[in-house]
Symmetry: C2
Amino acid sequence: MEKCDKREIIMKAALEMVAEHGFHGSPMAMIAERAGVGAGTIYRYFENKEVLIQELYRDLEDRIFPVLLEGYVPERPIRERFLHLGTAWLRYVINNPLDFLYLEQFHNSPYGVEFRRDKILGKKEGCGPFHDLFNDGISQQVIKGLPLVILFSLFFGPLVAVARDHILSFVTLDDALIALTVEACWDGVKR
Amino acid sequence: MEKCDKREIIMKAALEMVAEHGFHGSPMAMIAERAGVGAGTIYRYFENKEVLIQELYRDLEDRIFPVLLEGYVPERPIRERFLHLGTAWLRYVINNPLDFLYLEQFHNSPYGVEFRRDKILGKKEGCGPFHDLFNDGISQQVIKGLPLVILFSLFFGPLVAVARDHILSFVTLDDALIALTVEACWDGVKR
DNA sequence: GTAAAAAGAATGAACGTTCATTCCGTGGGG
DNA sequence: CCCCACGGAATGAACGTTCATTCTTTTTAC
């Protein structure tokens, strides 16, 4: 039978549960119930809960990166590339709120911190386009000469925050507001 | 015997545990052990774990606000006030990393979300000075004419992010870097 | 082609562990 | 002698995980 089918159903159920209730509010029994499978079935596809959580994250990254790079032209000016990536990211998470909420849960967990530590210190190069973009900007002197990590925070800190506010209905972001917000982020990093 | 003394010891232990291991990594038994009291003793001072968590948060807010307002002059120019509050906030959380980590845990929990919803929609006016500052800035046309919530995110989103990076040792913020970062945040909100 | 047999998938009750909370015996101050 | 703050064992609920069993599909034998 379709092994992949059931595996994906479980992943979708887990994503929804975790996004809405957090890791600790998502018992395996409930994930199984939502997926319409037996509790034990999950363990045919995932070694344990931690593996399920990590695979879900990897899956999410693989889905998001291509979307961000759609229409991205590395030859264009720095500013334009920033606006493109910022806008694309904001659009994606607004249209896929469960993905965003899951990413937030992951990043604010011990797994997420360790993951980032590996990326930053181990030079895992996971965020390829961003890394290049910031470095280009620094060497061309069009963005501030600050450590990469800080530039990252200056640009994505606000984006994450407004995305959360939108998804929690504290504000409603339309196309105009998205554009203004991303431009404001650019103002923060540009020299 | 000193009731208040023991109460504070318990709160300190809980703060440390939660900051380091999160709510779900901080069983009451361990908090008790760290505080050097019996598990049951905690319940003489706090009705249950949730109450302990919430009181800890309130306590933290009461400690932070006065520090931010130290030397704050509402009559000074908008820009100067922004830099003052941003710098004071960043300094505080860097010098009190456990407080920061606790706040993060709280904000990323269901309690925290509900709390913010009350504040924003119910006009609880919790963040007095910030509220006034942003409104002054808008009416004086020195900051961007965006919704308050977005301005908040533009200014504090990066600050939270760099504070986390500093505390996790992904970057080391000295006085110079703090000043540059806060100014960059200002660049994001200023018109 | 069909029936029997083997293999593979799926199940959910049961297990051991961990947690928040309660309960009760103890000991020191009034 | 009494009171009550205290400690920590006891309690029961909830969790992740396991496993004996059932159901489904595939293979084999004739």
